[in-house]
Amino acid sequence: MTSAISVDSISKCYRIRQSARGKYGTDLADDLVNLFGSIVRGRIPRSSFHEFWALRDVSLEIRPGETVALLGPNGAGKSTLLKILSRVVRPTSGSATLKGRVGSLLEVGTGFHPDLTGRANVFLAGAILGLSRAEIRRRFDEIVDFAGVEAFVDTPVKRYSSGMYTRLAFSVAAHLEADILLVDEVLAVGDAQFQRKCLGRMDAVASEGRTVVFVSHNLAQVRSLCRRGIVFEKGRLSLDTGIDEAISGYLSSLGGSSPSCWIAPPDHAREAPMRFLRVGVAGGGVEELAVRGTDAPIDLEFDIEIDRRERSAQLAVRIVNDEGLPVLTTAPEDVGLDFCSAVGRRKLGVRIPAGLLAPGRYSCLCNLHIPGVVSFDLLDGVPAFEVQETRTTTRGDDHRKGVVAPRLDWNLE
């Protein structure tokens, strides 16, 4: 199958000019002063460029109908790649080939003209895509309707709220029958309902066999929309796999994690004979606090790497409520399980029964240690989760007050 997007070892170098006045600027006056100064000093004018490689040797292929997320920390080069794909910026070397019409929405300030009305801007955007007036007119109502700005189509867009602005911009890009849709972090300003609508629309676009490339720091959005994830790090492509792996790879490269799923940063506890690789609430999003109902059990997972077997090493997990009070401490040893029976990667799980914990927020203290002798790896505060009341009661709020809230067996004689 032919690719929709084919990127062949693209690099992009920005030459940042450092002028005498210490600003990034491009004034002829500065250049002349530099030139003159150099001549006076009898030297060949030396360009005062500072080179910056925003992308380095990136190659990838995207097939028609794929939904791809570009992930990476700030400044990794994601937007630069999208700009190259949409031809706004030319690569310093390498080439990109795109098949079909490309619709792009690069960052929040799209190509709208503030003085023009919403209507005129829709036609402008369509014409930029290379559509004829008739084609745009056919789609016009749908676009305005989706954006929900009917009442404002004849108002200059500079009077729009930033949310409305984005809604219209997104709507135009998503409805104008582009074969490839490039979207860069634009949904952030829309409200939650519109964000959901946009994701739905992008889903629909993808299922029509069109290609979507999406950049967002909202990992929940990324996960729900995209099948494939490509991670960038300092301008280089570092990972290109399925979306779940890409997200966890990205998070671990950050060394950062979220409350409900902690992932070890690269050199975590290297010198210890065993260490945590990942601890988390099962099924919890990587990025948000996992929330469980009082009627459901909570599964905690622990990925541990063991380099060397240590006799009498233990794993202990303490659950602490939001007042800092230890609710319980549990360990595999409690049930006679020796997690340290072999070297390598081990996966342990423990289930907190439904209804045990009272509604509230909890975090854990996880310790890999030889009790009273040495602690190999200690994590404080992860994983965290929240328990919410889901069982209805007839009595007031206080009726189940307590650190734990199990339903106990009552009997009457």
């Binding site: 600027g25 491009t26 949409s86 706004v88 799209t110 005129a120 402008l124």
Partner: protein, 259 residues
């Protein structure tokens, strides 16, 4: 070649840019269309005063006001054309940094939008002409090649300026000065006969001179420029435009990086 195809494919966009230029200009300023005729009228009045009254320059029997008004209208096409084309990328920075389209459309549409202003000013002239000796007849059509040459000169110079403007922002301030200087070396406000005989062919070497004289000839029947000067102007206009496009294509690559 690919460039030409892309330009054609985006014909609709050219139209949108053109209408946008016009609607913003006419909708936003309170005086709107009035401003378009007010400006050449004011200049023509001043020129009539200075040259017609103070210097008593000959105007081939035509009212001096009419004489200088014709010159100013034709001049507007060039002056406004390079001004608008020259700043077109900076004005539309957001479009240029966030979307792709054949970049050349922007300065071209900006310069072409002046044609409407010129048409409005010519309409006013047509209303006035019957009171000042009537129309010139078929030779009126010579206004079309005259304006065409001026437009090409404006496109060429404006596109070059647009490209340079992106690289060095401070060039922008120099444009009005350049236009001011040019207006005095071109027979806009004064007749060619005021130029000493020995310098006349030098004056006509200025490619702007012949089309202005031709336009005036077409409108009120003054002496037309010699044929060689017209051919020269047309040749310079075409060459300048082609060269500007060439330069522009090189600058285009890095346009969004610098803006």
């Amino acid at each position: 070649m690919q460039m030409a195809r892309e330009l054609v494919e985006h014909g609709e966009l050219f139209r949108v840019f053109l209408f946008r230029q016009i609607s913003i200009r006419y909708a936003q300023t309170a005086l709107g269309a009035l401003w378009v005729v007010l400006q050449p009228t004011m200049f023509a009045l001043i020129y009539s005063l200075v040259f017609g009254v103070f210097a008593a320059a000959p105007s081939e029997g035509k009212p001096y006001f009419l004489f200088s008004y014709c010159g100013t209208v034709a001049w507007t096409l060039f002056a406004q054309g390079i001004e608008r084309a020259g700043t077109s990328f900076i004005q539309d920075e957001r479009l240029v940094t966030k979307t792709w389209f054949p970049r050349l459309l922007l300065p071209f549409a900006a310069a072409s939008s002046v044609l409407l202003d010129v048409l409005v000013a010519i309409t006013l002239l047509f209303i006035a002409l019957p009171f000042f000796g009537g129309f010139t007849g078929w030779s009126m059509l010579l206004a079309i090649p005259a304006l065409l040459i001026l437009l090409m000169l404006a496109l060429g110079a404006g596109t070059l300026l647009a490209a340079i403007n992106v690289r060095w922002r401070d060039i922008r301030q120099a444009t009005p000065t350049l236009v001011q200087v040019l207006v005095w070396v071109t027979p806009v406000a004064y007749p060619l006969v005021m130029v000493p005989e020995s310098m006349r062919s030098t004056a006509l070497a200025n490619p702007l001179a012949a089309p202005i004289l031709l336009f005036r000839h077409a409108m009120i029947g003054t002496t037309p420029p010699p044929a060689w000067s017209l051919a020269w102007s047309a040749a310079v206009a075409v060459a300048l435009l082609l060269w500007a496009i060439q330069v522009f294509r090189r600058v285009e690559r890095t346009l969004a990086d610098h803006i």
